[in-house]
C-alpha cells in the first residue's frame, strides 16, 4: 500500500510556523487549526515552501489575520513564494495583510 502524500506540513518555530506544501480546500483546515493558537502574539508564517494557495487557503489566512488584529497581535506572512504572492495580488489583499516578501 502506498502511503498517502502529505499535502501540507505546518511546523511550529520559535516565532510562528513554517508551512510547506499546498493550501487548498483539503489542507486549509489543518493550517486554520495551527493558526488559531496565540492570536494575541506577533507571529510569522513562513510561506516559502508553499507552492499553491486557493481561495480556501486565502480565506484561512485572512481569518487568521483578522483574529490577530482583533486580539492585539500580528500575523506576518514572510518569505512569500512568487506563486502565493501572485494569488495575494490577484485577490487584491496584499495591501490589507502584513506581507514581507
Amino acid at each position: 500500500m502506498t502511503a498517502p502524500v502529505e499535502l501540507l506540513t505546518v511546523t511550529e518555530t520559535g516565532n510562528g510556523w513554517i508551512a510547506v506544501g499546498e493550501i487548498d480546500g483539503q489542507t486549509s483546515p489543518q493550517l486554520g487549526v495551527a493558526l488559531a493558537a496565540d492570536p494575541a502574539k506577533a507571529l510569522e508564517l513562513d510561506l516559502s515552501g508553499v507552492s499553491f494557495v486557493d481561495s480556501s487557503g486565502l480565506r484561512v489566512l485572512i481569518e487568521a489575520h483578522q483574529r490577530a488584529e482583533q486580539a492585539g497581535g500580528r500575523l506576518t506572512l514572510v518569505r512569500v513564494s512568487p506563486t502565493v504572492a501572485r494569488l495575494l495580488d490577484i485577490s487584491g489583499v496584499t495591501s490589507y495583510l502584513h506581507v514581507d516578501r
Partner: protein, 519 residues
C-alpha cells in the same frame, strides 16, 4: 411485552454447569451400581464354582469309602494283599477329599459338622470293621455289624451330599437371579443415560438453539422492519446478545431517522437546487446582432455550485456580465451567490458603475452574518463599440482573447467580505473578433496528474478556439479541463465567453487595438 426481572435471570454457564453436574453424578451412580452388580455376579459365580467343586469332592469321597468297603469285603473272602488295594487307594482318596472339603468355603453352608459326622462314622467303621477284618479275616465282625457300621457312614455321606447339592442348587438359582439383575441394571443404566442425553439435548435446544434461532430470525427481520420487538430471555448471555442487538437496533433507528431527515432535507434541497440552478444561468434574451455568448457552470463533485453568473442588458445599448464565486459550496453558498448576483444586477440597473456596484454589494453584505467571502467581477459592455467598464473584487483576471496575446483584466479591489475597501472601475476594449472571457478559479485550479494545476497557460491555449465562436471556445475549454482532471472536481467551474462579431455591428465604431484604460 413484559420484561423479565434481572433477579430471575440465570446465566447459561450456571445452567450448563448444573446439567453437567447432574450428568456426571448420574453417570457415576450408574457406573457404581453397574459395577457393584457385576461384582456381586462375579462373587456369586465364584461361590457357585466352589459349590460345584464341593459336590464333585463329596462324590469322590463317597466313591472312596465305597472302594474301601469293597476292598475289605474282598479281603475277607480272599485274604491276599492285592485285595486290599481298593481299601488303601480309597483311604488315600478319602483323606484327600476330606482335606479339600475342609478347605472349601461355601456361602451359606458350614461343612464342618457334616464332615465331622462323616469322619466319625468312617473312624467307627474302620476301627470296628475294616481294621479287625484286615488283622484277622476269621475274626471279622458279623456281616450285620459290618453293614450297620457302613450304612451309618453312607447315611452321613448322603447327608453331606444332600447339603452340598442343596447349596449348589441355591447358588445356581442365585446366580441366575444376580445375572438377570446385573443385566437389568446395566441396560437400565444405558437407557437412563440415553434419556439423560436426550433430556440434555432438549434443554440445550430450549436454552440455546431455540433462543439463538429466535434472535437470528428477529435480527433478520430487522432488515425489513427495525421496529421488530426482540423477546427477553431468562439466560444472561442470551439476554446480553438481545440487549446488544437492541442497542444496535436503537442506533439503526436513530441513523434511519437521521437519514430520513437528511433525505427529506436533501429532497427539499434538490428542489431548491434546481430552482437555484435555473436562476444561476444567464437571463439574456436575444443577443445583439452578431454577439455570441456561451457559458458553462460545472459544480464541484456532489454539491450545488457556489459559483453564479449572469449576463443581460442594462439598457438597449449596454450589456452586463456579473460573476460571483462564494467561498464554499452547497445550497447555502449557492443561495448566497444568487443573492449577490441579484444585488449586483439591481445595482447596475440603478446605473451604478461596476466598482460602485461592488461597493454597494459589500455594504449590503457587511451586515449579514451569513455572508461569506466572495470574489466577483462586474462588466458593462457597450454593444455598439465593444467598450468595457469593469470592476473586480479579488476575482481571477478576466481575459480578452483573440487577435493577439490575451489581455488580463486585473482586480480593481480586494475580495468582498474580508476588508472595508473600495473598488475602482476600469475600462477595456473588446475589438471585433475578440472575446471577453470571465471565469472562476475552479478552472485554473483543477488538479491533474502529480497534483499539477490546470493553470492559465492551458486555459489560454484552449480558448484559442474562440476564432470559431464562443461555443467552440467553451467546448474546447471544458474538454481540456476534463481531460486534464484527475480525481473529483474540488471546485465549481464557471466560464462565460462573450464574443464580439468580427465586423462592427454599428457603422463608425472603430474596433481598434485591445487596451486597458482607466475609467
Amino acid at each position: 411485552m413484559a420484561r423479565r426481572r434481572d433477579s430471575l435471570r440465570t446465566s447459561l454457564r450456571g445452567r450448563l454447569g448444573a446439567v453437567l453436574l447432574v450428568i456426571v453424578g448420574f453417570v457415576g451412580l450408574s457406573a457404581l451400581v453397574s459395577g457393584l452388580s457385576i461384582k456381586v455376579w462375579s462373587a456369586t459365580l465364584d461361590d457357585r464354582g466352589e459349590a460345584r467343586n464341593a459336590a464333585r469332592d463329596v462324590s469322590d469321597l463317597k466313591l472312596a469309602y465305597s472302594d474301601q468297603e469293597t476292598g475289605v469285603r474282598g479281603y475277607q473272602i480272599a485274604p491276599a494283599d492285592d485285595a486290599l488295594t481298593p481299601y488303601r487307594d480309597g483311604s488315600a482318596l478319602a483323606r484327600q477329599m476330606l482335606d479339600r472339603l475342609h478347605a472349601r468355603r461355601l456361602d451359606q453352608l458350614d461343612l464342618t459338622s457334616y464332615l465331622a459326622a462323616v469322619e466319625r462314622s468312617a473312624d467307627q467303621w474302620r476301627s470296628t470293621v475294616a481294621e479287625p477284618t484286615i488283622d484277622d479275616p476269621q475274626a471279622a465282625p458279623t456281616a450285620a455289624v459290618a453293614t450297620a457300621r457302613f450304612d451309618q457312614l453312607r447315611n452321613d455321606l448322603d447327608a453331606l451330599d444332600t447339603a452340598v447339592t442343596a447349596e449348589l442348587d441355591r447358588l445356581l438359582d442365585r446366580t441366575d437371579m444376580v445375572r438377570a439383575t446385573t443385566f437389568a441394571v446395566v441396560i437400565g443404566s444405558f437407557v437412563a443415560t440415553l434419556f439423560v442425553v436426550i433430556a440434555v439435548a432438549m434443554l440445550f435446544r430450549r436454552w440455546v438453539l431455540s433462543p439463538l434461532a429466535s434472535i437470528s430470525s428477529s435480527a433478520r427481520r430487522l432488515g425489513d422492519d427495525d421496529t421488530v420487538e426482540l423477546p427477553d430471555y431468562g439466560i444472561t448471555e442470551l439476554q446480553d446478545v438481545t440487549d446488544a442487538i437492541r442497542s444496535m437496533q436503537a442506533s439503526l433507528a436513530e441513523a434511519r431517522d437521521r437519514a430520513v431527515t437528511a433525505y427529506e432535507g436533501l429532497a427539499q434541497s434538490a428542489v431548491l437546487a434546481l430552482h437555484v440552478r435555473s436562476q444561476l444561468s444567464n437571463e439574456l434574451g436575444e443577443l445583439p446582432a452578431g454577439w455570441d455568448v456561451e457559458s458553462m457552470l460545472e459544480p464541484a463533485t456532489g454539491v450545488v455550485a457556489g459559483d453564479c453568473y449572469d449576463l443581460g442588458l442594462v439598457d438597449p445599448h449596454t450589456l452586463y456580465i456579473v460573476i460571483v464565486d462564494v467561498t464554499g459550496h452547497g445550497a447555502v453558498a449557492a443561495l448566497d451567490a444568487l443573492k449577490a448576483k441579484s444585488q449586483l444586477r439591481a445595482a447596475l440597473r440603478s446605473r451604478l458603475e461596476p466598482g460602485a456596484a461592488i461597493e454597494w454589494l459589500a455594504r449590503e453584505r457587511s451586515g449579514d452574518p451569513e455572508a461569506d467571502f466572495m470574489t466577483t467581477a462586474v462588466v458593462l459592455v457597450d454593444i455598439e463599440t465593444g467598450a468595457c467598464r469593469y470592476a473586480s473584487g479579488g476575482h481571477p483576471p478576466m481575459l480578452i482573447v483573440g487577435n493577439g496575446s490575451p489581455v488580463p483584466l486585473d482586480p480593481t479591489g480586494p475580495l468582498v467580505g474580508a476588508f472595508t475597501a473600495t473598488w475602482a472601475t476600469h475600462a477595456a476594449q473588446i475589438g471585433p473578433g475578440q472575446a471577453l472571457v470571465v471565469y472562476t478559479d475552479g478552472v485554473t485550479d483543477t488538479i491533474g496528474a502529480e497534483r499539477e494545476r490546470f493553470g492559465d497557460a492551458r486555459m489560454i491555449d484552449a480558448l484559442d478556439g474562440v476564432r470559431h465562436g464562443a461555443g467552440a471556445a467553451v467546448d474546447a475549454l471544458r474538454t481540456a479541463v476534463e481531460e486534464f482532471r484527475v480525481g473529483p472536481r474540488y471546485d465549481d467551474l464557471s466560464v462565460v465567453v462573450l464574443a464580439r462579431p468580427a465586423q462592427p455591428a454599428v457603422e463608425g465604431a472603430s474596433p481598434g487595438p485591445i487596451a486597458r484604460m482607466p475609467a
